[in-house]
Structure formats: structure tokens, C-alpha cells
Symmetry: C2
Subunit: 327 residues, 2 copies
């Protein structure tokens, strides 16, 4: 069995793991803060160290020799150019025209490939997760931002210049909230982690009755989407309302995807899945209310099944896809 | 050269033409009112007569014999099931579970295939029209409703159950206008022909200064989107404002498609193209304002190049696609 190292570069953390080519095993999961403020060279050094650590752990666990490790798949925020392996621009990481693929490859002495982080996460869910084997898959990665990935017939749909799948920046309310991207009413402006926290704070300043402040020892600046989900689990009415409201926003965006793609599976990945049925039940109801019945009936709307590792599995799978033509 | 008959069934008219297999020629274009209120048998009889007429005209024009005509591609409102050739439900035509493909085939003694009318129109534009040869094409058909079609690598994207491409029913304003489909804020509820007429009437009842009533001899019930475009051509300020507003609504929907698909071409087909640059200039500006810059730069936003015949060309092309694997 051959193994591939998957590297998932996020704004906060880098996660690395070594995955068997059939996706059945993952070894040597390692994570480190990204610290992008220390510059690309620092991030690269951390990636190289994590990859080496992960490989060593894998060889110890499996008894294999180094030849079993055949390559590295890298998932990075974009936009990027797959053909040249260059990250064009990442506002969060401060990179511009960085030849990330070749830099990683040289640092770890292995062939490498590069794809978008959200594409990788959704591809991972298609490969071995919630959307395993489905023919038509659309996915959302919901965290600091909202990314997206589209998998058709086992291949990532990249579009004309590798930008496809920017689902977080689809408008659900054309005169609505200003988004960081400059557009108005983007899904991301309502349903990303920071957007959920911002809506919570707006309600609190408007006098909403809630125990949310207790969950952050009174320091409202520490309220995150996770705080909202935790308060909802404790049956805080206002937090529950925020989750239902989030489900409605997401439902409008997901209904659009159902009507456009008529997919077998829509998979949601990231922190938002922590909200569980409190989110997914009203989300499915909202999609049912909005989208075409035969398309809704055909489509399963699921939380990701690979918390924390979807991007690593997917990065490994994209190495297979780019190097061998299929995952 | 072989020829294929293309049949485009609309709510108002049926259009038929006979197309050479390379798409370079069309002969015997024939059209007749659909008169769906007379029942499916009546519509079928009209289709059969139009197909026979079109074939005869083609044989006269080309000097070919009947063997040159190899099949019929039918484009019909849906939803429908391509595999069985059955139209599942068409509210406009009143059909339910109609085995249209086989009924047409038997009536005209030729093999037939069936696909969605909007898919056919966009496929026609990809085959020989404005989007000719482009790898990633998304299209809108704008008339009584707003349909959509997606062409990837020369093939129509149908999704899991032939419903993909319902772009008219994507939400651009989640708390907006109620759409006939039951959803709120659908693109179709703002930018279809009847929606444009409805917005015009709303403005007139609110006291808008306009010469629109003069274009319908004072009979406001006769105002259509075409009336609005005509008044705009005559520099009526209110009509121009309606066109700009339409461009803004369409721009939000098209920007979503640009961010999701990163296409080479977005093509708009139907009456709306009559508005010309008055619509397309502000539309492109709105898309530029909303969508990701590298995706916008990559994408041409074009009016269809086959007025009245895109659906016929496309229906013929879908016969090739379904029968021979490619158009």
C-alpha cells in the first residue's frame, strides 16, 4: 500500500496526516499554529517539520519503509493556479504569487500537488466521508469564511481558472449585509462563524434576554459561533433563535445549490456541524420550503463525517487526482 | 451529410427546424401556436405536421433523400426523465407523465430523444451560437419564466435526476417577492418578462412619469417586457430605469453563477436580449461589482446569437449527444 501526506493549511492551524492510497487509514496526524504573520518561510518550515513528523510516525506505525510515501497533497486558501502550483493571493495569510507547491516539494523531497482548501475538504468527504461515492456532491466549509467545493463524477469541478465553488460569496439578499469581499448580502456575511457572533452581539446590544454572556465570563468580545452553539445546547432561547436564524440563511443558500446542481448530497463541513440537529433539522425544513420538490427529495443534506481531517484526506485525494487522474 | 429535426416546444409556440449534423445549416423552419389547452394529442399532431413539413422543405432545398434525416431531438418544458423520455409535469402545458419522446418518435417514424427546453437553448448557443466551443458555459433563458442550462466540456450537466439548472429559482433576496414556485425572492420573480411588466405597472400606479401607456394605446394590461424595451429604445426615462433595475437583479443572479461556476461564458437567451446594450452594459457592471475579480475577468457575458432558433439547434444537438455521445 502506498501512502500520501495530506497538508491542510488554514488561517489558524496547519493540519497534516499520512493517508493510505485507498483512504482507509490515516496515521501521524500533526497540527501546529500557522502563524502566517511570521511570513511564508516560517509557514513552510513548519509544514516541512510536520510532514516529516507525520511520515516518521506513519513508518513506525505501519513498519513500512520510506519508499511507501509517494507524495504530498497540499490544500491552501486561494485563489491559486493548479497548473503552476502557485497561490495567487491569500488575504488571510498575506501571500501573493507564492509557488507553494514547488516550495513544499523541495522542502520535503517528494512530488507535491496543490488545490484549494475548501475543494480538498469536500473532496475528502466525497472520498471517505459523508458523501462517499456520490456522483454529484456540493459542499460548504463553514468557519471564519464560507468556502465551497463541487465534485462531479469523482472529480473536483474547478471552472475556467480554478476559482469555481465560491459559494460563500453567492448573494442571498441583494440589498443585504456588506461582505468583506465587497459584495452585498453574501451567504458568508450571515452564516460564517464571525457573522453568527456579530449577529449575537447585535441582539445583545439590542437587549435580547440571554445567558450568552455567562459563557464568556461577561467578556462579550469572546463570543464566537461556538459559544452560541454551546448556549443553544444549554437551551438558551436566544441562542436557539440564532441557530434557527442561521439555518434559515444557510437554507436559502443551500436551496439555491439544490436547484442549480440537483445533487445527490450537500455536505456541510466545519464548526457549524457542532450545532447538530438544532441546525440541520430547521435547515432541511428551509430547503424543503424553498427548493424544487423532486430535487429536494433526491438530495441528502449532511454534516461532514471527518471533523478536523476532511481537508487532510482531501488533500491526499487531490494528489491522487492530479497525479494519477483519479482518487 | 445527415440531418436532424429539432423541436422546441414552448408555452406559446412550437418551433421546428431541420439541422445539418455539423450545425452549419438549418432548413425548413416552421412554427405554430402550441394551443396546449387542446390537450396533448392536439399538440402531438401539430408537432408531427411541423416535422413532416420541415423535412419536406429540407429535402427540396438540399436535393437529399429521406434517408438523410436520421432523428428528432425534442426540447420540452420539464421536469422530465431523459432515460424514459417522459415529461413528468409541465404546469404551463398541463402535461403529467407524458411519454413524449416515444409518442413523437411513433408519430414521425424516426428515432427521438428528449431534453429540457432551457438545456436545449443553451446547448444550441454552445454548439453554434454565442458560446460556441467554450468549455464552461452557463446560460439563462429569459421569457415567461427564467430557465437555465449548464454545459461542461461539451455536455449538458443534468444533475442527479435531470432537474439541474433551475437558475431562475435561485434566491437573490431571501425575504423578497413571492415566486410562483412557492419560494421567496427568486430571480424569476424580478427579471422574467411578466415580472418586468408587473414592476412597470407597480410604478405606474405609484405615479411614475412615463410614456409607457402610449405604447399600448392606454391599455395597461397589454404592457409586457417588450413594451418596456421599446419605450427604453425611445429614451423613456422610466422604462430606462426599469431596464437598469432589471440589470441589477439579473446581475445579482449572474454574479452568483460567476462565483459558483467560474465559467468562460454566461449567455442570456430570450426576449430580454432585445434590450441590447441598455441591459448588458449595466448588467456587466453589476456583475463586476459583485463577483470575484479573477472570475469576472475570465467570463464573457453575452446575448444569445440564435434568436428564435437556439432551442431548435440545441434540440438537434441533444439528439446527437444522447444518440452518439457528443454533439
Amino acid at each position: 500500500m502506498r501512502y500520501i501526506v495530506g497538508v491542510d493549511i488554514g488561517g489558524t492551524n496547519i493540519v497534516v496526516g499520512t493517508v493510505s492510497e485507498d483512504g482507509s487509514q490515516i496515521h501521524g496526524i500533526r497540527t501546529d499554529p500557522t502563524h502566517s504573520e511570521q511570513g511564508a518561510q516560517g509557514v513552510l518550515a513548519r509544514i516541512a517539520a510536520l510532514v516529516e513528523d507525520s511520515i516518521q510516525a506513519t513508518l513506525r506505525a505501519t513498519g513500512l519503509t520510506r519508499e511507501a510515501i509517494v507524495g504530498v497533497g497540499v490544500g491552501s486558501p486561494g485563489p491559486l493556479d493548479r497548473a503552476s502550483g502557485v497561490v495567487l493571493l491569500t488575504p488571510n495569510l498575506g501571500w501573493r504569487d507564492l509557488p507553494l507547491r514547488d516550495l513544499v516539494s523541495e522542502a520535503v523531497h517528494l512530488p507535491a500537488t496543490l488545490d484549494n482548501d475548501a475543494n480538498c475538504a469536500i473532496y475528502g468527504e466525497w472520498w471517505v466521508g459523508a458523501a462517499k461515492g456520490a456522483q454529484y456532491v456540493v459542499g460548504l466549509t463553514i468557519g471564519t469564511g464560507i468556502g465551497g467545493g463541487i465534485v462531479i463524477d469523482g472529480r473536483i469541478y474547478h471552472g475556467a481558472s480554478d476559482i469555481a465553488g465560491e459559494i460563500g460569496h453567492t448573494t442571498i439578499d441583494s440589498t443585504g449585509r456588506l461582505c468583506k469581499c465587497g459584495n452585498y448580502g453574501c451567504l458568508e456575511a450571515y452564516a460564517s462563524g464571525p457573522a453568527i457572533a456579530a449577529r449575537a452581539l447585535e441582539g445583545i446590544s439590542a437587549g435580547a434576554e440571554t445567558r450568552l454572556p455567562e459563557f464568556v465570563a461577561g467578556d462579550l468580545s469572546r463570543i464566537t459561533a461556538q459559544t452560541v452553539y454551546e448556549a443553544a445546547r444549554h437551551e438558551d432561547e436566544y441562542a436557539l433563535e440564532l441557530v434557527r436564524e442561521t439555518a434559515k440563511f444557510l437554507g436559502a443558500g443551500v436551496a439555491n445549490l439544490v436547484n442549480i446542481f440537483n445533487p445527490d448530497v450537500i455536505v456541510l463541513v466545519g464548526g457549524v456541524t457542532l450545532a447538530g440537529d438544532r441546525l440541520f433539522v430547521p435547515l432541511r425544513a428551509e430547503v424543503k420550503r424553498r427548493a424544487f420538490k423532486p430535487a429536494v427529495e433526491r438530495c441528502r443534506i449532511l454534516p461532514g463525517a471527518l471533523p478536523g481531517t476532511a481537508g487532510v484526506f482531501g488533500a491526499a485525494a487531490t494528489f491522487k487526482l492530479q497525479s494519477w487522474g483519479q482518487a
